[in-house]
Assembly symmetry: C3
Homo-oligomer: 447 residues x 3
């Protein structure tokens, strides 16, 4: 639907839009009860295919504080499983007349994007598997903005499980977009994955550097800190930081719990970081606000709760005004969003061959019967292609052109001439042959 | 309670009342947010003893759009099972001060009628087992009315599982009341049951005829179509159709999914109908709107979704305004309903002997300890008696008169003299003797 | 938080405050829809760690009738278990911005007190295990007040399971505070526990007496009735009753169902009381209103439902206006409550040794890792100490003083000199020695 905005990914929002949301959220936060007429007569549908009470209550509170109504399916999975309706159908029905906005939580990556394709009202992604949780990311950024007054140039430590934590990856990308500097302090075995570093490098121009972490003191003794800094002016970042790699003064320390529900069996938690007063004693951390997405387990000691640097309960509370800003903006009641999203990444249907996405929990595979696969091209040289739903990289073996019926090596310069929507992803020679693709060598030119 | 209206069965509403509801629904649909003060201050209780997210959300959305509030028990069965409260007590408590209207979904047939007997506020039946789902039926009729401008005289094809689908039976009765013509296109093995045809014949004056279904083309090749037409002017139908039995032009095609949850084990689904573009290619179907109660499975191909005849997503969306009309009318905020229901079928308590209802999922059996059995007489000559809760036919073996203490053969003309509320349903001679009934022969006259 | 009122226990309210709540409730009840602006813009969070649909719906209805909104977690236990958040953290987060008041149901005794310690908004205890359910007690008292015009001096029969019923114990204490007289008619084996009688005696000045129960007729034939009467003017009771022990005329009969879910295995229910018309036939019961907290099972015959003395459905309905009064008062929208609670019982942290609470379902044990044990001293001579959360008596073996490092026999007069917040509860000599406590004999005086 043209003109209909969704919040599927934090990338759907420009930096300017995000800042406008922050200003609105701050106004809401000043008096949470002052806007109870803004969305009067409107209804949000909370569709939670996996339970997440906190996220759900935060959204529902936000909608009620705007004067709107809420209809709730707190455990859609169990409720609809027996009748086995496709997510596309559910999105169409619920958006038909039931609700004016849909808040969707789902265990499959890409579910929110799929729902947005079929919904006739705005869809907000309240978490799609291990993929994105944009309102959490916005809430985290909003907290930095409120606490520090700006985000650009801040030094932010990300600590704990940097491997399996969804929120950390989205947060890192967003910090990079805003031109903040990121210091990674992973628990051993929980380092930031290569594909995240690659995306930071290729899409956000951020170059990882080994940092001198001595100044972090006890915090870093169990970890290898890596410093990520924007190396070249990034088109979207307003400011860059030209300082060196010594970590003098940390603005914020973001701690995460181990995402045990996503760990492979055998993940070692014995050496997981535990954040307490001692780990915060370094001079460089003297003014760092301590953040955590909650709920916490042992990684965040209760002895920190009374420390003035601990803002994690405030952080959670701020989820309500920022969600109020998001809901009211998407419902057209606040002037924060442009008519069309700034991001113009095209999504192309997979026209030939099997679904090239290799992520088994992608919505294109968990609902394979109903979901036509899509891809997007994130880089043309070198060619990088991602699933249009779950954003996993599509492995490139042989790449065909649907017009010339030739296939190419993924590194081939010839590929540069192929239009993105003509790409065909072939598993092997057998599939290429079956679908009628010939190798793009001279020998194969018409002879 | 005199003057208190419920919606337990579609039969609770006169045709005139139904049409008034349609007019109100159409007004609501024109601007779903325009009536957010109509039921301000009122509360609906959603009591769902079996989950049905779609129906629940539709009702809750309707109540919120009217400005009312909603309290929800999405899975009453699990929640209250441990304390084992009777439905009658629950109805009394919830209607006491908690809610101004009760929306009840239950797995036992007749549950809504029972609740209505004890509730001090209106009860809406949101589905009672395999019995009735009157708001679904109203929604279906409303769709016909919106799409075609009227219902009388329409030719409506019912296709798929005509045997186990609750909605189809109620829909067929309602179409007959309105004087529409019904063409049955069942999947093999899923024909309309005899007791439905019998009721159509005896209560609605509809005579089934074998139809010439050639004009339906591919749709009918796997099925034996039967045409049902009002043969004599029916008292409640405003118009009748005097056309012949050739099916020239179908106005609507109502497809159903196989109700596998109600199928006996061993039901064969291999040959179930699949509706796609090909099955809709016959000339007679050129203008037919395609309806489906959703959710769908394989019986309704996604290739139809973009066909202009496919209205099933609109159909679902229209469930909200029609439910707004029902809620507001029962709450006394719209002038659609008479003070008393037009239907005057008396329900009589079973005063002697065991509960004659043979339906094991009738509320009079699932809550046998709390529910006094009832019956209603749907025909006196021949005598037809139905359970007052679940509407199942009561098998007549020996029928006594509680005054004369005589029993009669169910076919006996003597029975015509017995007042309906004096009937006693006796399982066999032994029970007759035990309860003190003698045979009504001359030999038994005072001698 | 100073100035922040909670309703954790009925003892949090003075008799004067309770009566003001009654007056407000009566006003609400006169027109349940007349106050739909009183709490406009405010949100209640229903956090139910064990399901209790009736209580939840009653609170939610009350909040909606006040014009407020509700966010609901109907089964927190299942929803949050996987992430294992402490109740203290949940209380902090939900009270942060999500809700303006928290309604908490939990299976652990003391949970509401714990939540109140961390919440920044009022907490209402909607039942904490077998401990308290103050709004049920208030509802029961309100019913007496409405039906009889006052509570002081009423003769109230408590019948059925007086052993395991939470509501009965709280109700008995409250009746004693109000100066009503209580007649216990327990089912055999379900007598009022000694610790309840002890508390009635020691805290409320009520002396149990064997009553002449002949006048109760059939009701008492299966039971040994005990009459509890305030023997000395109780400081908080406005009136006392100086009549004798013959039971002439009962004002109210409160029947309870057997609390089978709390019974030890092997509890005998064969002889449980069954209340029907026959048991109510005694002259002394001619005007007694019959109450029951519902749901009922067999202990309350349906043949009573039409008896004008039966008020149990009215009783349930009155739960809504009394909860409206509680919600609106705690939210500061009604002038019923003082700024500070009248009850000034100090709670002291356990500073040394293990948690002395022996109740395995106390929140201080079910969430042992997060909950610092507390105690309160209910009597200094003799020393009686109770768990600050679940109110279970703390067994006194050796009692130390954290300053002198001496331990004493619990009966020792020396203990009178120890400040309440200096008490240390020692399991045995070994623990005393390990923690550095010496016996408080002359031999241990500085020598």
């Amino acid at each position: 639907m043209p003109g209909l905005r969704h919040l599927v990914s934090i990338d759907d929002l420009s930096l300017d839009e995000i800042k406008k949301l922050f200003v609105h959220a701050r106004t809401f936060a000043a008096d949470l009860r002052a806007s109870s007429e803004l969305c009067r007569g409107m209804i949000a549908a909370s569709l939670f295919y996996e339970p997440s009470t906190r996220t759900r209550l935060s959204f529902e509170s936000a909608m009620l504080r705007l004067g709107g109504g809420v209809i709730t399916a707190a455990d859609m999975r169990n409720l609809s499983a027996s009748k086995g309706e496709s997510l596309a159908d559910t999105a169409r029905v619920v958006s038909g007349a039931y609700a004016d906005i849909v808040v969707l939580r789902h265990s499959s990556e890409g579910a929110a994007r799929l729902a947005a394709q079929y919904s006739t009202v705005p869809v907000i992604n309240a978490g799609d598997g291990a993929h994105e949780h944009p309102t959490q990311t916005l809430c985290d950024l909003y907290n930095l903005w409120i606490e520090r007054g700006h985000i650009e140039g801040l030094d932010v430590v990300l600590a704990g499980d940097l491997r399996y934590s969804r929120t950390i990856h989205s947060f890192a990308y967003a910090l990079a977009r805003f031109g903040a500097n990121v210091v990674c302090v992973p628990a051993p075995g929980f380092e930031m994955p290569d594909y995240v570093l690659q995306r930071l490098r290729e899409e956000f121009g951020v170059e990882p550097q080994r940092a001198d972490a001595k100044s972090l003191g006890d915090l870093a003794t169990q970890s290898d800190a890596v410093y990520l800094t924007p190396q070249k002016p990034h088109q979207l970042s307003l400011f860059t930081d030209a300082r060196g790699f010594a970590i003098d003064r940390v603005d914020a320390l973001y701690m995460t719990r181990p995402q045990t529900e996503r760990h492979p069996s055998g993940a070692q938690l014995e050496n997981y970081l535990q954040l307490g007063r001692r780990e915060l004693s370094a001079e460089s951390l003297r003014d760092a606000v301590v953040m955590h997405p909650l709920p916490r387990k042992d990684e965040l000691s209760e002895d920190l709760d009374s420390d003035p640097r601990a803002i994690y309960f405030k952080q959670a509370a701020r989820g309500v005004p920022i969600r109020m800003a998001i809901l009211a903006s998407l419902l057209g009641r606040l002037p924060a969003l442009e008519r069309e999203p700034a991001s113009t990444t095209k999504h192309h249907p997979v026209t030939e061959g099997a679904n090239p996405c290799v992520n088994p929990t992608c919505i294109s595979r968990t609902e394979a019967r109903h979901v036509p696969p899509q891809y997007r091209v994130s880089s043309r040289h070198p060619l990088r292609v991602h699933c249009g739903y779950c954003s996993h990289a599509i492995p490139l073996r042989l790449v065909g052109c649907s017009t010339t019926r030739h296939w190419h090596d993924p590194e081939s310069v010839e590929l540069r001439k192929v239009r993105p929507d003509h790409l065909v992803f072939l598993a092997d020679l057998a599939e290429a042959e079956r679908l009628g693709f010939a190798p793009a060598t001279r020998a194969n030119a018409p002879a």
